[in-house]
Every structure is written in C-alpha cells, then in structure tokens.
Subunit: 146 residues, 2 copies
C-alpha cells in the first residue's frame, strides 16, 4: 500500500473520520495527477466513478490537514493544489505574462525561516513562497516589442 494511503487512513482514524470509497478514490486521483490541479480537474479525473464535486470539495481540506497536498497557488479565481508526500518543498515562480509556473527548491531558505519561527515561538505548519514576475522568454518578447 502506497505511503499516502496509510497516512490518510491513520489521519482519518485519529480524527474519528471514516475511510470511505470516495475519499480513497479522491486521494489516489490526487497522487496520479503529476501537475497542479484544482477541484474541477480532480473531479474530472474521476469521471465515471460517481464521486460528486461536492465531495471533492469536502475532501480537499482533509488532504490539506493530513499534509498530503498543499495549496500551490490561486490563479484565475481558483485554488490550485499539488500533492506533496515525497516531494521536496519548493518555491513557485509564476510568470505574469504566460502564466507558466516554474519551481526551484527551498532548502537554503528554510533554516532562516526556522530561526525566525523559533524567535517568536511560532509552530510552522506550512511555508508558501511564490514569486511573480516575468520568465526569461517573456522578458525577451517584452524587449523586442518595445
């Protein structure tokens, strides 16, 4: 059984929630999508399996709480998630022009953030770093059209 399955099972048990068919399907779908996804895309990937969009929305907070997925960003009016188990934390670089998202690792920044957390006795659950601007391709295009 994959790691994320046992983790979800344990999480639900601890909270007194039930491991249902829909929840299992949603979790698996989230780990089969190897790109950012929103509620609708996740639901689409379950087409034909009779899982309602409402249940997808109801399950997303559980996956977040369980530390299985994280909110990658909000764009075009929707929340976009990504699964994180086994994935290193990373920074999101979002091009404001072409909307593409790039990722880099976050390792160098973490120790400094942890020092700041300790100083104010803050218990970190989640770090979100996103940087918006122009990717190299769009910079070139912007200069050409001047």
């Amino acid at each position: 059984m994959p790691d994320h399955n046992t983790r979800f099972k344990d999480f639900l048990e601890l909270r007194g929630f039930k491991l249902t068919r829909s929840r299992k399907l949603i979790l698996d779908a989230a780990f089969e999508l190897h790109e950012h996804f929103d509620a609708e895309k996740l639901h689409d990937s379950l087409k034909g399996l009779n899982v309602s969009l409402a249940t997808v929305y109801r399950t997303l907070p559980l996956l977040l709480d369980a530390g299985l997925i994280q909110l990658a960003m909000r764009s075009e009016g929707r929340d976009r998630f990504e699964h994180i188990l086994g994935h290193p934390r990373h920074v999101h670089w979002i091009c404001e022009n072409c909307k593409q998202v790039f990722e880099t690792n976050l390792d160098e920044l973490v120790p400094r953030i942890e020092v700041a957390a300790k100083a104010q006795k803050f218990e970190i659950n989640h770090i979100n770093i996103s940087i918006s601007g122009l990717c190299w391709k769009c910079r070139i295009n912007a200069n050409e059209s001047q």
Copy 2:
C-alpha cells in the same frame, strides 16, 4: 501632496488612464487603513462618499500594477491587501487557529531569492512569503486542552 498620490497620477498618465474622483478617494482610503483590508472593508471606509463597490474592485488592479498595494494574503475566501509604499517587504505568519497575522522582515531571505532568480533569468516583480501554523498563544491552549 503625499508620495502615493503623485505616483498614482504618474502611473495613470503613463497608461493613458484618467485620474478620477473615485480613484483618488480609493487610493487615499487604502493609505489611511493601517491594517490589511479587502475590497469590502475599503468600500466601507468610503461610506457616504458615493463610490461604488464595483469601482473599488476596478481600481484595485490599478493600485497593484502601480506598486502601491500588494496582495497580502487570501483568507476566508477573500483577497486581503495592504499598502506598501514606504513599508518594508515582510513575511506573513498566519495562525490557523486564531487567524491573527504577524509580520517579520524579509531582508535575510531576499539576497538568496535574487540569486535563484538570476540563475533562471527571471525578473522578479513581487515576492510573497506566508507561513501558516500556530502562534505561541494558540500552541499553549492546544497543549492545555489535550
């Protein structure tokens, strides 16, 4: 004339937009609120001045583009902004329990981010760092109630 006013004026001129009564009022209101605000709060602070909520929504992107405000975070389904002219960039620490927001400066992290940007030829326009978890007060309460 305060700095933010001339900056907004110049920005609008450059883009061929008009400096209207509503826009002036909205800008001033944004700089009078010394806390995070969402569209509705900003609109409330203009009560009686006959500025419509739609215009507040229409002006927010202009203030963002002009670099006068920034999106501080999204919480409880709303976008929260803060004015930034003259304010140092900072990290947001958000307590998931009491929803309070704390701020620390960002100075130590910036140089490292800039190195990463240079490596991928990314032009940074905006850096957003928010960290969620538990503030020290809520940690204590959480432990007590176990």
